[in-house]
Symmetry: C2
Subunit: 204 residues, 2 copies
Amino acid sequence: MTKDKYHHGDLKKDLMSKGLQLLGTEGYEGFSIRKIAALCGVSHAAPYKHFQSKEAMVAAIIADVSWKFGAMVKDVMDKYAHDPKTKNIEMGKHYTKFMVENPDYFRFMFLTNHYSPIHFTGESIEIDERHSGFNISLKCAEDFFDSINLEKEKRAMAFLSIWSLAHGSTVMLIHGTVAYSGDYLELVAKMLKEKLESLERNQA
Amino acid sequence: MTKDKYHHGDLKKDLMSKGLQLLGTEGYEGFSIRKIAALCGVSHAAPYKHFQSKEAMVAAIIADVSWKFGAMVKDVMDKYAHDPKTKNIEMGKHYTKFMVENPDYFRFMFLTNHYSPIHFTGESIEIDERHSGFNISLKCAEDFFDSINLEKEKRAMAFLSIWSLAHGSTVMLIHGTVAYSGDYLELVAKMLKEKLESLERNQA
DNA sequence: TCTGTATGTTTACACTGTCAACATATTGTG
DNA sequence: CACAATATGTTGACAGTGTAAACATACAGA
């Protein structure tokens, strides 16, 4: 609510918002600080008062989406708290849904080197603390493993399988055909269900 | 073997080779026509006699790797022709291995919009004719499905599962920890084996 | 009110992709 | 072989980029 002259009001927020919008319409290429500054009606150097570099700006935008991702994951986690199996299936569905709706976030996470939330070493999985979404989704899987008493040694591989199913099909959706039908989410659910039940059977 | 003066000899090849090298060292960002031209000892506009644009140049480089990918896939296909199950497991291992060794190819394929070899519509899968590697790997899976008499309706999903396992773990490897151990390939193999045998059991 | 600090603008630089105009080598035709 | 057409280079220009320094203005606290 400033006098609407020299100062913008809340430029940082506006930059991030317009930046995300540009990411969505033009993709990572075509994402330019000068363009965003213009969209905000501000000089091309103004963004540098809020972000150290272009990279930092993109990182901030992505971190913001990451927060929303975390919130979504937490919602699923709470909603289906009582049922570990359903929880994992729903988690996969929501994962795919979220990524399909935020393809630039998806691309940025898994296609650049700037962002590595997951560290998988063969025996153990470590997830960057800042990325709560992945942390929680790992815990989601752990809950299921607990419920079927899966041995510790088998968990890394089991998690990898589950995650691969969800992620792999997401890639297909985002990168493959443009047509997106609700059915696809059911397909993801079915694949996950099969895998989870196979784990159950092997454990029984 | 020209007179080594005004003309380069085989600039197109040299550009692609140095370009691929640059992709490997600096990634997609930092991939610059002018840099590559300099590496080839040629003026900054020379590449435009061979490629219409930067994008076309990257596409050509990627197509070249794609060809190698296809050759690799075909080798696996032939080597294990007699055994559909082993063939699919080996295919997955080689897929992961190839992508880990060509991470820029991998990134370019699945991270940008320039390149969409696979079209998955829910019931059927279509693969771009030019990308023989994926075509063959689909056929590889089909061979297995034939060997266990899998119903047509179940095949799209089964393929998606198999491919997701291979691809998902590849993402982990490329994007996660830097450490690459041979064991990882065994993990991929194990996951695939489990999935294939689960399909077998359901069919028996 | 005065002064420091946050937030803008302007100007400048090196770098990018791309194009047009020009130069030189190679190739194919009479 | 000569000469024209063509392929392959070079040079110079342009607009657009990220980034930094110098400068200007508004706001906040003493």
